[in-house]
Amino acid sequence: MDLTYSAPEAAFRAEARAWLDANVGPFRDASSNTADGFAKLREWDRLLFDARLSAVSWPEEYGGRGASLWEWLIFEEEYWAAAAPQRNSQNGIFLLAPTLFEFGTNEQRGRILPKMASGEEVWAQGWSEPNAGSDLAGLRSRAERVVEDGRGGWRLFGQKTWCSRGAFCDRLFGLFRSDPTAERHRGLTYLMVDLRAEGVEVRPVQVLDGEEGFAEVFFDGAFVPDQDVIGEPNDGWAVAMATASSERGLTLRSPGRFLATADRLVELWRARGDRSDPAVADSVVRAWMDAQAYQLFTQQAVSVLMAGEDKKMGAEASLNKVWWSELDLSIHEAALGLLGDEAQLDSDWLRGFEFALAGPIYAGTNEIQRNVIAQRLLGLPRG
């Protein structure tokens, strides 16, 4: 066991910190859930990309730095400590990109990844449907195989919903039913769709804070060429599950985000809390410790991943997801408790609380995660 950082890691931290300090200012308050904010955050992605900080763990040929998982964690700590904004490109970088690295072709990676990291093409995810949420395999949107003018591809019909930032995104990745005769987990194909194509209609949906953070997307014969299938046709379930594992595993929510929020909670406590109130102190301490525990759990997981061949977490990712989503809520609840009467007013803490409330729902509800923990980690029988 050695919990010290190497000289190159420390140098990378210093570089990231200096760059963020110098550049983040004008972008801090931009919201990716509004048209103006989204446009501003495209510029932010471009700046990060030009500094090769948009996706540090990617290979250099796609605009990354080939950073190790340790360096990625360092970057994330610095990113959130600098109070930098939520990325437009997060679904692309953290969910689609790992899928392309595992299942995509070289042609797809070269065509898609640099534009994703530079903010030129921003990706939405298309999993949920009106009748397929936790039971994702119940999805009904169809992809019909066609060959038109010698060009092979798929025509899409149906509806996706709860697509985060979908109202402003350029493209969407998701699952479509390509073989309606097959058993439900089979016959699904993983496709990438141009949201501006003919036969696609995007309708914004307001989320809890009133911003248009969701969209529903309707497909009426939109065309997707064969080059935009990831993996084999009808094998989309396996491909998507790999993405889901990234989402609730390491990459979507790094410890840095919560460490930074927990430190802000402690600042709030020191600035305006009643320090003699043991109940308040306990809520602050518990939330702060939960963020530290998440960092340590992640460091332990990264050590295992770095030592092994397989760079993915298994069902342990479900422990991760439950912890970070509930931890985020604890931090914000403690902060609102410190605000007292003022918790009734709009504030960054209130906005953060509303966002945190989504955590136990997205990326597989925490009820589904607890099923996974019980059945796959503890070996209990399926119900």
């Binding site: 066991m1 050695d2 919990l3 010290t4 950082y5 190497s6 890691e9 340790w70 700590e77 400590a81 460490l259 402690v266 406590w269 020191r270 320090r275 043991p278 102190a281 306990d282 602050v284 301490v285 518990r286 702060w288 410790m289 530290q292 525990a293 998440y294 340590l296 759990f297 460091q299 332990q300 990264v302 050590s303 295992v304 770095m306 030592a307 342990e316 422990l319 439950v322 912890w323 009820e367 995660q369 607890r370 099923n371 923990i373 019980a374 059945q375 980690l377 503890l378 070996g379 209990l380 029988p381 399926r382 119900g383």
Partner: protein, 338 residues
Amino acid sequence: MNFAFTEDQMAFRDAVRTLLEKECPPEVVRARWEGKPTEVWASLSDMGVVGMTAPEDAGGLGMDELDLVLVLEECGRAALPEPIVEHAAVVIPALREGGGKTAQRWLPMLAAGEAVATAGLGEAPLVPDADRAALLLDDHDGCLHAVEMSACELTPLDSIDRGRPLFAAAWYAEKDTKVEADFELAFDRAALGASAQLLGLADRMISMTVEHSKEREQFGRAIGSFQAVQHRLADALLRLEFARPVVYRAAYAVARPGECAPADRSLRVSMAKAYAGDAATDAARAALQIHGAIGYSWEFDLHLFMKRAWSLAAAYGDGSFHRRRVGDWLQQREDSDA
């Protein structure tokens, strides 16, 4: 960065687990409850576990807290009815650091397991297993003293866990009982050792309950297939798996004083004790509820582990005590860079 144990550390852990599975089944814990002698201390001494933190020239293995933490976890899993934390994690290191005649005289005997040491640290010292011990490490006016048990007046207390019977010890501090070692460090080591045992206890109770809920059928199916049962156990596992790295991080802080100031070490230990205590008491609660009435019976073994968890969760500062320590640290810390 590498937050992982070495192959050697894990192999030693596995060997201790195997030994305790054989030599410390619940019948042995029950024998201790009834005041009967057990053989397990001798076996652990032969293996070097009892003296693992003693210097090699005193017959020990010269190991540190990172080696010890995994071994103590195993002792917790077995509810080992011996003062292994006090002996190996607290007294031997304090004597090693304090030096002097006491260390010269006692370290070889403690390393070989020929003599047993225990400790009574904290505000209301309850001394575990004093009936088994020849040497007591206790604190007085912020200083540590090592006193021969024959010079102590012992009063047995009614202990919830009779596998870890507690005593009040009265003794006189004298010039030659003083040990020149740090009281705060000794206390942190005791809290760390208890935390490691609590991890093992939580793991044991979760495993017992998983096995039970796979076997036990009601309404025509295994109760472990019900979501209410699954989620309760999932939460217990979640608490355990997040307590684990916090305890290991605290072991690292104690083992590497060069990388960690005393205040930061105490912070790490307090986090460990708070999480491990919660993990074990939460596992106990889930285990009892899911076992139902059988778990509430004297005859069934669950209570041996549950009571050890309650005892250790309260020992060397409970969760509130340690969270207060973390709160004080947070209030006092200078804004520092990550």
